[in-house]
């Protein structure tokens, strides 16, 4: 009998196989390579007044790239099988569906967060190396350390909303669109709070909470899909 934990582990392996076969695994290099490179170029060629501001800029670039990756990978992890009707086969296997999907989502969301963190660490190192802080420089608009953690909340939010949309629409492409729209809304609200000086740790926490709720809804609904 396949228990929940077994199903989770087996499907995590399955997702790794799929990432490898589809070559989507290369997408995971984008935040950790392109993020720091883009950030480094900006550090060198733009007149960034301080290493803190350079780090904020680099984090936004890296997180933006990681956001695109998490949207794509989550949309496909949930919606690809439903769209192709692969679930007509996989749903007949002796395992809890929700645990199976949790294993797959754990891999794609976990891997994206890991490469984002790795990219963020590289960005911080480059900013401190390439940019010297002018004595007259204004403080960065956000505390880099806070932003780095807060952007994790944004990525979890995007993953959760995309996953929930994938189950509802049963389509990877529509889930992707829903995730992009959610990202635009989150960015808009975050910018508004920033301009109004009301942006606090509560905002990324709320985003992460919404993302986790989206993931739970996704897993529950996935287990209940009546084919």
């Amino acid at each position: 009998m396949t228990g929940g934990v077994d199903a989770l582990i087996r499907n995590a392996r399955w997702e790794i196989t799929r990432l490898h076969r589809s070559r989507r695994v290369w997408l995971l290099l984008i935040p950790v390579v392109a993020g720091p490179i883009g950030s480094g170029i900006a550090d060198v060629y733009l007149r960034v007044p301080s290493s803190g501001t350079a780090e904020v800029l680099g984090l936004l670039i890296t997180a933006g790239l990681a956001a695109l990756v998490v949207l794509d990978l989550v949309a496909l992890a949930v919606g690809e099988d439903l769209a192709l009707r692969t679930h007509y086969l996989t749903f007949t296997l002796p395992q809890p569906r929700a645990s199976a999907l949790a294993g797959r989502l754990g891999v794609v969301i976990g891997a994206t967060l890991l490469v984002y963190v790795a990219g963020a660490i590289a960005v911080a190192g480059l900013a401190n190396t390439l940019v010297s802080t002018s004595p007259t420089a204004a403080a960065p608009i956000l505390v880099p350390g806070h932003l780095e953690v807060g952007l994790v909340g944004l990525l979890v939010f995007l993953g959760g909303i995309t996953a929930a949309a994938g189950v509802v629409t049963r389509s990877a492409s529509q889930a992707l669109v829903a995730g992009v729209l959610a990202g635009v809304v989150a960015a808009g609200i975050g910018s508004t709070f920033l301009i109004e000086g009301r942006l606090t740790w509560l905002f990324p926490l709320a985003l992460a909470t919404a993302g986790l709720i989206g993931l739970v809804v996704c897993l529950i609904q996935y287990g209940r899909i009546d084919v």
Binding site: T2, R10, W14, R18, S22, R85, Y88, F91, T92, P94
Partner: protein, 315 residues
């Protein structure tokens, strides 16, 4: 303790305002091979979805190995292989990937997985294609690979829908042969199809479904005798050289009604079951008659299909 492996008990399934199944009830004992015949939209796929845990009945209950296939999915479907409709597989995945995944989920230890994958592929003659991505397989090969996936882990119950769809004649023959062999080895099989020949060659019992209602549940080789209201078996014997009705009747003995359909073919009607049929065949061979084959008449099941389901809907 009941030996019923699959049980469909007073099941209704409603989609919107349409009843796909209406009070359907049947069961399959361990080792039975049962055909499920009916026209498009009769409810065959719906029934298989319920048994495979893909869907829940609106009313009534479905049991696989005595368990609810949705609530007790892992235990109920542990030894069940199912192919319902035509699942798509992402084009970048290989047959080995898919069969390996099925073996993994079925709890086959990693050391034994390659053997299990190979056995599943061998059953469908697709070993040479295991390394190819699904996107490069023809429709028939992909179908055979999917069938191979359902056989991974040596399931004790098979739920198959249109298994020969898209297969070339040789592959169709091999599959029927394989299913017959598995059935003889104790596999329980529910075979949903439009192809009467599939049922004729593989199954011992047939269910007829029309408009969501079960309208027939009878042996495949049964012929109803409208004169007596009883039931009899009909067997068509084919011979090599010419034979006479007298020689066949003499070999068969009393109780067997023989009519000759041409010089090399005879139809034998008799009351009884497998034992009587085996005795008849043994007697014919003992008598030195050059028997080539024995099967239920092809037309019989088609005729019964027409009677129960309706000519305009027959396919």
């Amino acid at each position: 303790m009941s030996s019923d492996v699959l049980t469909v008990d007073s099941v209704w399934k409603r989609y919107g305002d349409h009843d796909a199944l209406r009070d359907v009830r049947f069961s399959l004992r361990s080792g039975e091979a049962v055909g499920y015949l009916g026209p498009n939209g009769a409810g065959k796929t719906t029934t298989l979805k319920l048994l495979a845990g893909l869907s829940r009945p609106t009313r009534g209950s479905v049991r696989v190995q005595g368990l609810d296939p949705v609530e007790d999915r892992a235990a109920a479907l542990r030894k069940v292989g199912a192919l319902v409709e035509t699942p798509g597989v992402p084009p970048y995945l290989t047959g080995a990937d898919l069969l390996g995944y099925v073996a993994d989920v079925r709890g086959i230890p990693s050391g034994e997985r390659p053997t299990a994958v190979r056995r599943g592929a061998e059953a469908m003659n697709v070993v040479d294609h295991l390394g190819r991505p699904f996107g490069s397989l023809s429709t028939g090969l992909a179908r055979r690979m999917l069938l191979g996936a359902t056989l991974v882990g040596d399931p004790e119950v098979l739920l198959l829908e249109e298994p020969t769809l898209g297969l070339d004649p040789a592959a169709r023959h091999d599959l029927r042969d394989r299913l017959r062999t598995l059935s003889r080895q104790g596999l329980t099989l529910l075979l949903s199809t439009h192809l009467v020949e599939d049922v004729q060659e593989v199954c011992g019992r047939v269910l007829f479904l029309r408009n969501g209602t079960l309208v027939g549940d009878e042996p495949v080789d049964l012929e109803r005798d409208s004169g007596t209201g009883g039931s009899r078996r009909v067997l068509r014997l084919r011979f090599g050289p010419d034979v006479t009705a007298e020689s066949v009747a003499g070999a068969a003995g009393p109780g067997f009604e023989v009519t000759l359909d041409g010089a090399r073919q005879a139809t034998v009607r008799f009351s009884g079951g497998d034992a009587e049929q085996a005795a008849l065949l043994a007697a014919v061979v003992r008598a030195g008659l050059p028997l080539l084959s024995a099967a239920a008449p092809e037309g019989d099941l088609v005729r019964r299909y027409m009677e129960r389901v309706g000519r305009e809907e027959a396919t």
